[in-house]
């Protein structure tokens, strides 16, 4: 929630340039990520919003170089983490970054914890592997991580298995694993979708506190515009494998430039705002195997023009790091 000018002075931690990740299928090439560019500054929380199939999860997996193989491949672009292009690293070198300097919290705490190992063992793993700590020192580190995510009685909880934890507590364990190595960048991929409202609020508050304390940069992947408004400094709106608009959160929510962003913001019911009808975007997101030429949103766009059907709109800078891809903004 820092203002944008202060944010601009911070140096860029992650700079993604024209990232392309494709799935190769018998029926053709599926362009899951189709030229994504964005930056994350130090200590900044950046949202990746979009509907299912818009490419947000694949973008994150690409950052971690964890795209499912075989079947998909990063086919182009650059991912600059400080002065290093992650795509030029060997697999062994990449492991130094993954889980250490870049951590990820996945959507489902059910599947991201191993049911046959204790919580202590699992939180210990990154500590041993990356921080090279052993014995009492490592144990202290694990306890500290569990305490930082406010798990009550961590000394006893260490010896328990994932099934003995509630959904909310499990997600905290996953967060503890991610944060135990003090990463510079945390990628949170819809970590609260399976949580109840009050538990979600507690989890969001926890992560926000830790982020501020350690000045960690965070990428929040979500389809929930409420979470983005509460958690992020910047938002990147994705549609059909591309970022169609990027902006500082207050500015983007007040004055969305792209018709898709506008439509998204108007289509959610807002408490205290009684409209009998919601704005609705007709149609549905395109099939990624046959994305329409030009702007992929044109078949659903209320202000479509002839040029939209022919050419993808260029980047229009709208101040600071903000940009939009729309022919309307270009004029």
């Amino acid at each position: 929630m820092t203002n944008s000018s202060a944010q601009q002075e911070k140096s860029v931690l992650l700079d993604v340039k024209d990232l392309q990740t494709h799935f190769f299928q018998r029926r053709g090439v599926l362009k899951a990520v189709d030229g994504v560019s964005f930056t994350v500054r130090e200590g900044e929380a950046v949202g990746l919003v979009g509907e299912s199939g818009s490419g947000k999860t694949m973008t994150c997996l690409s950052l971690m170089r964890l795209v499912p193989r075989p079947g998909s491949r990063i086919v182009g672009g650059e991912i600059w983490f400080r002065d290093q292009n992650l795509l030029e690293l060997t697999d062994a070198e990449m492991r130094e970054y993954r889980g250490h300097r870049i951590a990820m919290i996945m959507q489902d705490p059910q599947t991201s914890l191993n049911p046959v190992f204790t919580i202590g063992d699992q939180v210990m793993e990154p500590v041993k592997l990356h921080l090279k700590q052993r014995g009492a020192q490592a144990l202290e580190r694990v306890l500290e991580a569990l305490r930082s995510v406010r798990i009550p009685g961590p000394e006893d909880r260490l010896r328990q298995y994932p099934h003995q934890f509630s959904g909310g507590m499990r997600q905290r364990v996953v967060a503890a694993m991610g944060l135990s190595t003090n990463p510079e960048l945390l990628i949170a991929d819809e970590p609260t979708t399976s949580l109840d409202v009050t538990i979600q609020a507690q989890f969001l508050d926890l992560i926000r506190g830790l982020q501020r304390e350690h000045q960690t940069s965070v990428i929040w992947v979500t389809h929930d515009l409420g979470i983005v408004a509460q958690m992020c400094d910047r938002v990147n709106v994705m549609y059909a494998g591309r970022i169609v608009e990027s902006g500082e959160v207050r500015k983007l929510y007040k004055e969305p430039q792209h018709p898709y962003t506008k439509a998204l913001l108007e289509s959610v019911p807002i408490m205290g705002n009684r409209r009998r009808r919601l704005y609705q975007i007709d149609g549905q997101p395109p099939d990624l195997r046959s994305i329409p030429t030009g702007c992929p949103f044109w078949p659903r766009c209320p202000s479509v023009m002839d040029i939209c059907k022919e050419q993808y709109p260029p980047t229009t800078h709208t101040g600071g790091d903000d940009f939009v891809h729309c022919w309307l903004a270009e004029k």
Partner: protein, 332 residues
């Protein structure tokens, strides 16, 4: 004053707890523990609460998928669990359901026209051209092209499947539709389409909805009356406007404040900590007291089950700490 279509009175549903081969379980899961509500004709009643609060169990009882342990459910004045023969068939026609997951609620081996036509064949013995005409009408009602009747569910997106499920629910011209989290499996832009469709259909056919949801923004948008549940009990029930503008129960307040609002200038606040209590071994007294910000170690909250009382016109709550406006009105 609209007439009550569906009345649930003192509904209790207990399930046997987890058991194994050697031992029958002695614990009881108190899924629903004395809940009353009524759905008026042509309106939407929303049941809100977190997982395990019993909202789906109530829906299952209404749909005759479970029998209540105690209490009764009346539809147009008749106890639904005592209906037989023609009356029972009539009830089953009048009450339909749309479920959360349109991927598992449609048979993947059936064409859409058979999915929608099945209730018509069974209940109305329609066939041939008359059946096809009616199916075509239903597809149009929910905004699908009539040529899609020959397709299979996998050829549709989630939103379109939910439209098919709605068309099937509409087929027998029901009076009440139970909507169990009808849009939580759908994308944001598709949700608006389905919510608008449900509102339109309600107006067009005079439908009543029993809406089950955990999303307070959707509930505010859709409903006329709202009931908030916590671990098997109703904690607050009011007309929608009352509920959102004059919230009384601390749990309802906590729920409302915990929603992340899509506006960076309205920060979310966390007023409660801890986890949802278990219906197997619910806390004594008021079930919310271990998490309640207003509890402050008062013995009454810990020991006594709060009374379900009307504190203002059409506004009920169960909380020791809430003053009744009805009483003060009498005193004055």
């Amino acid at each position: 004053m609209p007439e009550a279509l569906l009345e649930v009175e003192g509904l209790v549903k207990h399930f046997p707890g987890p058991s194994n081969i050697l031992q029958r379980s002695s614990v009881v899961v108190r899924a629903v523990d004395g809940v009353s509500l009524s759905v008026d004709e042509g309106t939407t009643f929303a049941l809100v609460g977190e997982s395990g609060c019993g909202k789906t169990t109530i829906a299952k009882n209404v749909l005759l998928l479970e029998r209540p342990t105690r209490g009764e459910i009346r539809f147009e004045g008749e106890n639904i669990h005592q209906l037989k023969g023609r009356e029972l068939r009539e009830y089953k026609r009048s009450v339909q359901a749309v479920f959360q997951d349109p991927y598992s609620s449609l048979n993947p081996r059936m064409q859409v026209r058979d999915i929608i036509g099945e209730p018509l064949r069974v209940h109305e013995r329609l066939g041939g051209r008359r059946l096809q005409t009616r199916v075509g009408e239903l597809l149009e009602n929910v905004g699908l092209n009539t040529v899609t009747g020959g397709f299979f569910p996998h050829q549709f997106s989630g939103g379109q499947r939910q439209r098919i499920a709605i068309a099937r629910a509409l087929a027998l011209r029901p009076k009440l539709i139970v909507l169990d989290e009808p849009v939580s499996g759908l994308d944001v832009s598709i949700r608006a389409q389905i919510l608008n469709l449900l509102v339109d259909l309600q107006e067009e056919f005079g439908l009543s909805y029993l809406l089950i949801s955990h999303d307070l923004a959707i509930v505010e948008h859709m409903s006329h009356q709202v009931g908030v549940m916590y671990v098997g009990k109703m904690v607050e029930l009011a007309q929608k406007d009352e509920m959102y503008s004059d919230t009384q129960h601390p749990y309802t307040k906590a729920l409302l404040s915990a929603v992340p609002r899509p506006d960076p200038d309205i920060p979310m606040s966390i007023t409660i900590s801890g986890e949802v209590a278990s219906p197997i071994n619910p806390p004594t007294g008021c079930r919310f007291h271990p998490r309640c910000p207003d509890y402050q170690e008062s013995a009454i909250c810990r020991e006594q089950d709060p009374e379900w009382r009307e504190i203002a016109g059409q506004h009920w709550t169960a909380c020791h700490k809430v003053d009744s406006k009805m009483d003060s009105a009498v005193h004055q």
